[in-house]
Subunit: 367 residues, 2 copies
């Protein structure tokens, strides 16, 4: 991993190829920074919607861009890079694929100019896809991995770093191989396991599925992702993913043996099962978790209020009068008490003003 | 599954043994219906907190209760049932364990009066445990499985049904064995898989774990559950769980073979991987999912507002003036547009008043 430098490059004109969730979100984020964004996509409907949302305008023949961003499926990247470089579309080229070694290898094989291509992966997403799900804030505070090769020009790396920062993300440099091994563990394995878990429900009765609660909802949520896109992602990282899935499979088999012993009345297997669950607790404790769902760059300020009509409105009215915009509001009721907790998400720089405003109006603030 | 009858029984006095998440939540729910709740626990601190929250008061010697609820770990149920029946504490006895066949078998072996014991399982929970996490609304709209044996007296079944209904839950009758098979699929397998998945992170670097996003958060959330309690739950349902874990393990092995073929450059394995992911999508589509997190018994009403300070407050002020209490508020921003969507959760019976109030004030309501 390379130390993060401060070599900011001015980006004025960016071409985004691919108007899906990521491409459209990049366009929206850059437009908020008043960077000119040009948008292309082979699907006219998707492109029209992304443009309608304000993510970019059509490029004109002969335009040359500071950065060309390929927000397209992994298997299409090398060929599209080659095409874009032949047309001389840009100064620097990058992509957003969540597997990095394979596109890099394919680009080298095709003779792409590796001085001007620097791979990227904004580590952010939603289970929904397409431009309608795009958010200008999608990348705020999230890692944006930059996987430059030794051949990459320093100013090309600086361009991609500036792109990430303009989107509000945190640039992190590492090799494609280190990136792919990490993503296999924290993204690709969870996706595949969620799919395999959800698949167990296809043969269940309605009565069975009706007993599912929030645990089932959470553990299977990502399984709704587009199978064709995810096949490409997982296939492009098949080596690393097979390694971590192999370890997972071993752990499953071991646990299966423990459970069969328990089912046969051998209570001595309980300790092994507890050990497995403790490992799960230890692993879970390492997951970066935000309380509630405040976007990065925002903080949550909890306010205690009476649980009465108008009380929440009074809080928000006081904030509106003070010109403080609240990004999100969550309400937690405490049963058996006449008070509730209102969690307000505000931009970090607005937090102290919010607290002062609430204190002045007599509400209890817990920070 | 038995058809649901309307034989409501009046409950006046209930004893809850066990002041954890479920026991305390039952106490809070019953108190809202003005039912007398008496509370016991062997842990003084837990009991004191549950009482402080208003979940019940100490029983007096000689009290006899309409229903005695055992909200204790599965392995303790049979012995506690025997003790409670010998003391003649109640008319009807039930429990809340999430595995039903084993406590039932153990109770029969101990000579418990099975006419007066009817197993129950309120299918609701949180990843947090203990009385501090308790909610009076925890069971609202959730299934409450009732697993009566052929020996159970009709009026005992009616008592447990009334208990479930008083907590706002939906009683569902099925055999202990059908219940346990269903829970293995929709609860116990997801928990175990989440633990095995989270366990893969224990050997990861901080840089790797730092790349985890919402997918990793969701798929591992339940892995934080108490290992000792979950060992009891899983062990009590080891037979059914081993069966579904065996099927899951087979699917994992098959997918591992596909991935290894892909890693070796055999692209023909991609179709099998896509098929697996499609099964995941199909399974996920069967999961009962609430949009956002409105509690059951509540509806979500989306209102379109300008994204400006004070706008949200104005909506809530209008509702406060009309005396409409909003249970929860969620804000969705649409980037690139000057408008946002505010989702208001209100009790079903208040929805039409809310819509009328919003329309009168000129806001767009989408129902």
């Amino acid at each position: 991993m390379r130390a993060q430098g401060g070599s900011e490059r001015l980006l004025e004109r960016v071409l985004v190829i691919g108007a899906g969730l990521i491409g459209t979100s990049i366009g929206l984020a850059l437009r908020q920074r008043a960077i000119e964004v040009y948008l292309q996509d082979t699907a006219p409907g998707r492109l029209a919607l992304a443009r309608e949302l304000g993510a970019g305008v059509p490029p004109r023949d002969g335009d040359v861009f500071d950065v060309v961003v390929l927000a397209i499926p992994p298997s299409a990247i090398a060929v599209e890079l080659q095409r874009a470089q032949r047309l001389g579309l840009g100064r620097t080229y990058t992509d957003v694929a969540s597997a990095k070694a394979e596109p890099e290898r394919e680009a080298e094989l095709l003779g792409v100019d590796m001085r001007r291509y620097v791979g990227g992966h904004p580590v952010a997403g939603r289970e929904r896809s397409g431009p309608a799900a795009a958010h200008a804030d999608l990348f705020v505070g999230r890692p944006w991995v930059i996987t430059s090769t030794p051949n990459a020009a320093d100013d090309a790396v600086a361009d991609v770093r500036s792109l990430a920062e303009a989107c509000g993300a945190v640039p992190v440099e590492m090799s494609a191989d280190v990136h792919d091994a990490a993503l296999a563990t924290v993204s690709h394995l969870p996706h595949l396991v969620a799919a395999l878990l959800a698949a167990q429900l296809t043969g269940s009765t309605d009565a069975t599925v009706g007993l599912g609660g929030t645990g089932l909802q959470d553990t299977t949520r990502v399984a709704a992702g587009d199978p064709d896109l995810w096949t490409q992602i997982l296939a492009a990282n098949a080596g690393h993913l097979a390694a971590v899935l192999g370890q997972f499979a071993d752990d499953v088999q071991r646990t299966l043996v423990d459970l069969r012993r328990l089912a046969d009345g051998d209570r001595s297997a309980a300790a092994a099962l507890t050990g497995t669950l403790r490992q799960g607790v230890a692993g879970r404790a390492r997951v970066p978790v935000k309380r509630g769902q405040p976007a990065a760059g925002f903080v949550t300020v909890p306010i205690v209020v009476r649980d009465a009509p108008g009380e929440l409105a009074a809080v928000l009215r006081a904030l509106g009068d003070a010109g403080i915009n609240v990004e999100d509001v969550r309400v937690e009721h405490e049963p058996g008490r006449a008070r509730g907790v209102v969690e307000l998400d505000v931009r970090e720089e607005a937090a102290s003003a919010l607290i002062a405003c609430m204190n002045a109006a007599g509400w209890e603030v817990y920070t």
